[in-house]
Symmetry: C2
Subunit: 254 residues, 2 copies
């Protein structure tokens, strides 16, 4: 005879909290505004700090919030549409072609991870590794390693003696890309999956280790072989990957 408990499935506190906060963000906060600190928010909602943090983590995962240690929690701007096209069947282009959005940073020769090597068919052999990065509005959004087997770029000279150490890496990287462009690109295909950022990339992308990232693996095909393989790491909190076909600006890229 008491209250009829229709809601037989008690919603977790952090889940309800997330909904409340989400609504508040829509109605009461502007982009860039800083929220009260976690201890105060927890007190205000009458929950432990850990519970509040669980809700904040969800909202950060969805790109609604941005948290920075020592600074505070701010309302994040809408996700940036990052064009990773042109997609398949469109005008395939090699990485580093004129007008692409990446900045070529460095080069070294290494033995790639086993999974990369097996796709390249270069078990155990060292390959060229070109490091590239990408920014939007001054913020780093992605980092990439492009693996190029030596067999793909036979025209490259032997490792040159460094005239000016520190600048040689980028120069060698560009040389690899130039050599790559001499070959005809037959096609490419991509996969996208969720990952967590490794320690070295964490610094490059200004995130803490373990932050969620979208990992894009691109296989470049020439002469029926895998001529190169790019592993690109995008910040999942700030990026929306856009696969456009190059015919006009896609609406979704917003």
């Amino acid at each position: 005879m008491g209250t009829t408990q229709l809601e037989t499935v008690p919603e977790p506190k952090y889940w309800h909290l997330k909904t409340v906060l989400s609504d508040a963000l829509d109605s009461e906060f502007a982009v860039g505004e800083i929220l009260p600190n976690e201890r105060e928010l927890a007190a205000r909602f009458g929950v432990a700090r850990a519970t509040l943090r669980q809700a904040l983590e969800q909202l950060e995962l969805e790109g609604r919030l941005q948290r920075r240690r020592g600074v505070g929690t701010t309302v994040a701007p809408p996700r940036v549409g990052v064009d990773v096209g042109p997609g398949q069947g469109g005008p395939n282009v090699w990485p580093g072609a004129a007008g692409d959005a990446w900045y070529t940073e460095d080069h070294e020769e290494t033995v790639p991870p086993a999974m990369v090597a097996s796709l390249l068919g270069t078990e155990g052999e060292p390959v060229h590794a070109v490091r590239r990065s990408r920014t939007t509005n001054g913020q780093p959004v992605a980092t990439e390693i492009l693996y190029v087997p030596a067999a793909t770029v036979p025209g490259l000279p032997a490792e040159p003696v460094e005239a000016v150490p520190g600048t040689g890496g980028a120069a060698r990287a560009r040389a690899v890309l130039r050599e790559l462009h001499r070959r005809e690109l037959d096609g490419q295909d991509r996969t996208v999956e969720l990952g967590s950022i490794r320690a070295d990339d964490a610094r490059r992308l200004d995130r803490l280790p373990g932050a969620p990232v979208l990992v894009v693996t691109t296989r470049y095909v020439a002469d029926g072989h895998t001529a190169a393989l790019a592993v690109s790491t995008f910040r999942a909190d700030t990026c929306r990957l856009s696969f456009s076909d190059g015919e006009g600006v896609p609406l979704l890229a917003g």
Copy 2:
């Protein structure tokens, strides 16, 4: 004088733990094998259960583990390559065309979320909403809602009286798709972003609310307008999205 502390950045415990566990998974466990329970693992590594859970969460995010309440933690199989192609520029096809991987489930007429409505240009109006789902190896991997403005499918009859309630939804959904296929598809473009699963989709995909998902938004263009919009939700833990160009099976799809 004492020990030289070269590693000036103390690694968080859960991060180190994750590495240890990851190596152990590679070398000592087979796919499907169940791990010791959380309380025992925590004791074995000398950490609090919450800390251990932080490491397990990371590994689950990366698709290495699968945890189920009441059951235990098991070693996950490698991620499934889910083909979401053919991509842009390739042979664009309407959803529901012969041979696509989706199962048509239901239909209703609703006013879509504001962001969908603005892309469709149907502010406030109800549109057709076709619910579809997708499985791989018997496991649900994705759920989708396809929004079709009434203007796109003018040939549809008015809402029919249900002869057999419960089967009518799927039948109406297929009718919408048939009507859609009569139009010529000019192109499509997609975005991929990280999200957290909503409560209703959580049941469909056999996950708890808040689990990470890859949200694919596809815009279908006909006659220069957005003729339909699909919002697809893929389990991020089990899926690797593959954008193939339809010319042979892509290596990355493995």
